[in-house]
Amino acid sequence: MAVPEIRNKHRNNSEMHRVMRQLKKNKLAMIGLVIFAIEIIVAILSPYIIPYKYNAMDMTSVQKGPSLVHLFGTDELGRDIFSRVLYGGQYSLTMGVLATFISTTVGMLIGAVSGYFGGKVDNIMMRILDVIQSLPNMLLSIVISAVLGSGFVNTIIALSVNGLPAAARMLRAQIMKERENEYIEAAVSINCSRSRIILNHLIPNSFSPNIVQATMGVASMISIAASLSFIGLGVQPPIPEWGAMLSAARQFIRQSPHMVIFPGLAIAVTVLALNLLGDGLRDALDPKLKN
């Protein structure tokens, strides 16, 4: 009977559990987590729960302000903005999460290889990242969208390049510290393959700063995605992506400001929730920083 006890004890003291306990104590972070979770659930269920179809036009009530019938009012074609904001969450959230996932994964692989091998490999990779980083994020995304054209998948690709250098550099620095440890020497001495050392030993022990960065990354990706759609490059209308809705609403800003307010509010609330969660994660992962 001793075995499960040990296992249990071990589990309670694991790093992951300590982080979760810390996170649960942080009220703001939990508020952020709850808001983000609700947004994801609503976005997934949106086709079934929205009161009107996202593209249902009603020419008899055009550009109406918020009311009980249309919570967020209607747009220039009489479409219900509340339904469109909920439905559009699918696009905005998916783009933010997927683009961050791709950029973090690819960036971490580059960083891990670079940090583990060092020397020439490291030098070449870092110089390439230097070049990518000497274009401001927004500009790089604009150039890539110009090449690929607009659309959902293309926008995700254009966004993914953004966080890549930062993710790579962050993991590289961690790996360079981590690879000096004795357990890596032990792994080398029992003839573990390089890929095994990198993927099974080094990355799991050094990627926690990347998680914090990725959480904040989703927030900024959602923001950049919206601004890309806003300038007409990302996702195009009639898809109710939040940035695209704002872009269409811009010409009616004088008559119906509510068309501008609600989609933007959705972006701001999402970004705020993710920033709260990211702050909490950072404090939980790095007890030094907590004051």
Binding site: L135, N137, M138, F230, I231, V271
Partner: protein, 318 residues
């Protein structure tokens, strides 16, 4: 220090060449035939072929790349825009200073307001000043600047009628763009300042300074803030790119003829040479500004200067 500056300036050359290659390569995958875009759909096959030869599209990639670099950096012939026919060099000369000034003003606002706010929050930790400024900062980093810009237009131009909604002219035209573009920066500068001030404020040398009877104001400004400044400058570097990107979008909202609106409208018109050259010049501007941040870094942090002095000495001995 001079060695450092020279070295950093020389390092700009390969980076800018790298950016040129990157942008050129990316843009060569653009959909559509340039000859067709320039001449329109009525062009005959012969006209298209002649245009293609004129543009050098039949040549292999490396030759085109070489002549592109030659044209931009050696001959300074950038050609004309496909859609407006205007000289690209002239429009960059006209628009670049505007974008640059706007970005610099935003950066000054960000750090000029953000740092004092952060210092106030840190020196009043857990009091109302701290909570209020941190709540403001949290909201500030979460509001997308282009949406804030539209909210400002609704409030100040449409409801109150105080400020012009778009265009350029006197200072009143730049108030809203600068405000919208710097809110995020003020907020992140305040957050960064607060956390790095809290890091140093408990250090022993602060206690020493206080016990020597140094006035509190001087302890904060000279002993604490100076040491807390290093991570803040690091943040300023990463923030510069964000501000520049934000400016590009804000220019389209406020109809400011700058680099951002130039590049964005060129993308929408498939005016590829403008996008290409515009992006390269933005990268040069960005790299120069980052260089400025790095030099500031070396000026504030004596360790970087010492590193250079140390290396020099080591070389002499060896």
């Amino acid at each position: 220090m001079a060695r450092y500056v020279v070295k950093r300036l020389l390092w700009l050359i390969p980076v800018i060449l790298g950016v040129t290659v990157l942008v050129f390569t990316l843009m060569s995958f653009c959909p559509g035939d340039p000859a067709q875009i320039i001449l329109g759909s009525t062009a005959t096959q012969e006209m298209l072929d002649a245009k293609r030869t004129e543009l050098g599209l039949n040549q292999p990639y490396l030759i085109r790349l070489g002549s592109f670099i030659d044209q931009i950096f050696i001959k300074h012939q950038m050609g004309n825009s496909w859609s407006t026919g205007m000289s690209i060099a002239a429009s960059i000369r006209e628009r670049m200073p505007r974008t640059f000034m706007l970005t610099i003003v935003m950066m000054i606002f960000s750090f000029g307001i953000g740092i004092p706010l952060g210092v106030m929050a840190a020196t009043h930790q857990n009091k109302w000043q701290d909570s209020v400024s941190m709540i403001f900062a949290l909201i500030g980093i979460s509001i997308p600047s282009f949406w804030l810009a539209m909210l400002l237009v609704i409030l100040f131009s449409i409801k109150l009628g105080w400020l012009p909604a778009l265009g350029i002219g006197g200072i009143q035209y730049y108030i809203m763009p600068a405000l919208a573009g710097s809110t995020g920066g003020i907020a992140s500068a305040a957050r960064q300042t607060r956390s790095s001030m809290l890091d140093v404020i408990r250090a022993d040398y602060i206690t020493t300074a206080r016990s020597k009877g140094v006035p509190e104001r001087q302890v904060i400004m000279r002993h604490a803030l100076k040491n807390a400044l290093i991570p803040i400058i690091t943040m300023a570097g990463t923030h510069f790119g964000k501000t520049l990107g934000g400016t590009m979008v804000l220019e389209t909202i406020f109809a400011i003829p700058g680099m951002g609106s130039l590049i964005i409208s060129a993308v929408n018109n498939r005016d590829y040479p403008v996008v290409q050259i515009g992006a390269i010049y933005m990268a040069i501007l960005f790299s120069l500004c980052m260089l400025g941040v790095d030099l500031l870094y070396a000026a504030v942090d004596p360790r970087i200067k010492a590193q250079y002095a140390g290396r020099k000495r080591a070389k002499k001995n060896g």
